[in-house]
Point group: C2
Chain length 432, copies 2
């Protein structure tokens, strides 16, 4: 049986912890017979490398402006494309995982085990050429299979691959999770264990709701909808990958042997749980464009501009109360609010004063998620009733098959979270 | 015209210095049209990485002995071969040059230039599988040529290559010099510039002889014989490489534009200089084995043991004054003296008491070197006379076509150096 294990940055953050990981690797290999390990950079290392790059450039610009105090005559040198810079950033930052992979392999060897680290081109993990946010294309398992066949634990540098030209690419922040799941998929591993410094995924944020409970099993879809709960635990893209290839993911602590949270394909028993988790997201802001002309193409114009600028619009509500115009309300990430408004001001019917823009930062989004909703009627109604009995006004509603999200005033966020968590009995372990 | 430049660890030791290197790269590219740069790790980085590895293992052993205080019953785990450990060491240590290569490429881009860093497998530099001390086998210039053709400065991570299986190998301490010369040979570069923190190679150690002068031009053979002068400036193996492929090497300062020392194939004008340089080596010790039986095979027995143990024997003198036995005197590196003596005690004719061993650490070796010696008679005689007039007793002598070395008491080393340097007029610039 083959297991893929991924150790995060804090798990390999010191030499002592690397040794602890090495011991766990050896135990896992004994139990599973074959083990592929994916490691992140030692905690802080990726930031250190990025800071080196930033300082290098900042320093240069300080020198340039000092050497050329007359900014009116100073012409900035023509820069080569960002592509080139991002390529070098990947060449630089990917060294962090190479270091921790080599150290973990050494530690395993030192404990009497056999191990080999595979990095960059050795991994056989080929991606597209989108430096700093590459997507995996293919995995050539030949080298990994060969090392496994010789009884070695294969320690892979996470977060990185190569493009078809041998350039090093990275998969974006948290990319080691995606490396691990992708390798598990390619190698048809029994399990992909994500070892981290928390116990698993909780039904909601335990700092807000004391009754929050660790979820034993959930579906990929639930995990994706509960992104704000899981984002601290594993990269959401890795869940999409796991869903696509049916990889069984086990999120658990690297510090103990407790069972964590299994993220697995849906089975019948899961529908008995109506609400799997409740999430609070404070990082959204609300935008209302009033008096939008009710003619074809206006919404495409509005949201097209935001989409082209890479701004992710979340909830959209159109209120067509009047005959010839409508109010459109939607949410965007709070840190994109100003940029969004600037873009919207250029829309013709806003620019000419026909439509107005209102914004509200003091909102938050509460979501209840569960595959059981599909077979249980009245979940949304029950949610509204629970919030209403606490006197909480609902500003917006959006639903999907397995999710109900509401926007409420920010000051009611925690209260709403507790009301829904308790009201749906999410804190009570399911009887499977 | 293609130039290869190599920047050492101190030249890229800080972000500020990396920017200075970047400016020099751009100037060089403008003058030469094509530039390949080889970089070492930022000074201190290689040591930091090696220390991480050492601490990891030391920590493990401390834990092991603490956890198992009863050493009588504690069985050390079976270690995997050193081969595996050395492989990981190379995977680890090679990241230092990758970081500086990416940073230098970024700095060049930031100054408006075009650059790309090539590391590990991207370099096309294939070696044998002797981890930590690999030898270069072939260089595939395809990628480098392609990047040069696009007008880019190619910044290569020094010190590293890959074996035929894609494992990362390193070329030994100072290996970036060898990388640079090897790339210059493969690319048929006009020059290989070794940029360092000294001005060039001197006729002798300027701290001892005030009249020491920077050598403008010297041959590969002279540089090899003057290894102790050049060892601080460039890896001696790189000189052998340069000699083999006729690469013109220019050792110069990275801090100014002064001409440094050219190390080039011999030409006629060089023979007019009798002595190119004078070197003092304090790191040898003398061993005398007395009463060695004068029968075939004894010397092979004696030096075979030392050779198998990797001990480099330098000067050997056999004094066959008596009919049936001889005294054999030779020098070994001072830090190998004890090991040498231990090995010699096992030689049968020493073990049975027929031969005795004497050692002397208080010696040093003075060498005068110059290709001109081949055509100038009496150089050795003049050297002996110069030393004699200072009252310095010569203990051993060894000569080659272009070198005379003498062993004297350590206390006369500096005096002898000055006497020979001044006596041969080495401090006077040659009239070419």
């Amino acid at each position: 049986m083959l297991v893929v294990q991924k150790y995060g940055g804090t798990s390999v953050g010191t030499l002592e912890r690397i040794r602890t990981c090495a011991m766990r690797c050896l135990e896992t290999q004994r139990a599973a017979t074959s083990l592929v390990v994916v490691v992140s950079a030692m905690s802080g290392e990726t930031n250190r490398l990025i800071a080196l790059s930033n300082q290098l450039l900042a320093f240069g610009h300080a020198v340039a402006s000092e050497a050329q105090p007359n900014t009116a005559t100073w012409v900035a040198p023509e820069k080569s494309g960002d592509h080139d810079h991002e390529r070098e950033l990947d060449q630089l930052v990917s060294t962090g995982e190479k270091v921790s992979a080599a150290l973990l392999a050494m530690a395993i060897q030192d404990l009497g085990g056999k191990a080999t680290s595979l990095v960059g081109h050795q991994l056989g993990l080929q991606t597209d050429r989108n430096f700093t946010r590459a997507r995996i294309r293919t995995i050539d398992r030949e080298r990994i299979d060969r090392e496994l066949a010789s009884g070695r634990i294969v320690v892979c540098a996470g977060f990185q691959g190569i493009d078809s030209d041998g350039n090093i690419t990275t998969l974006g922040r948290g990319g080691s999770d995606t490396s691990a799941v992708a390798l598990a998929a390619a190698l048809k591993a029994a399990t992909c264990e994500i070892l981290t410094d928390v116990d698993g995924v909780y039904t909601t944020d335990p700092r807000i709701v004391p009754g929050a409970r660790k979820i034993a099993r959930m579906t990929y879809e639930e995990m994706l909808e509960l992104a704000s709960l899981g984002a601290k635990v594993l990269q959401i893209r890795s869940v999409e990958f796991a869903m696509k290839y049916g990889v069984r993911v086990h999120v658990r602590s690297s510090l103990n042997q407790n069972e964590g949270t299994w993220i697995v394909p849906e089975d019948n028993s899961m529908e008995s749980v109506v609400v799997a988790g409740v999430a609070l997201d404070r990082n959204e802001a609300k935008v209302t464009v009033s008096n939008v002309p009710d003619v074809p193409g206006t919404l495409a114009n509005l949201f097209g501009r935001l989409g082209e600028a890479g701004i992710v619009v979340d909830m959209i509500i159109q209120n067509t109360s009047r005959a010839s115009a409508a109010d459109v309300t939607f949410t965007v990430p709070e840190n994109e609010l100003e940029r969004s408004v600037a873009l919207l001001r250029n829309v013709p019917f806003v620019a000419d004063g026909r439509s107005g823009i209102e914004t509200d930062r003091d909102i938050c989004k509460i979501s209840i998620v569960g595959v059981g909703m599909r077979t249980h009627a009245g979940v949304a109604a029950k949610a509204f009733s629970l919030l209403s009995s606490e006197g909480i006004n609902i500003q917006m509603v959006a639903t999907s098959e397995i999710k109900v999200s509401v926007i409420v005033h920010e000051r009611y966020g925690e209260l709403a979270l507790r009301a829904l968590h308790d009201g749906f009995g999410v804190g009570t372990p399911p009887s499977l």
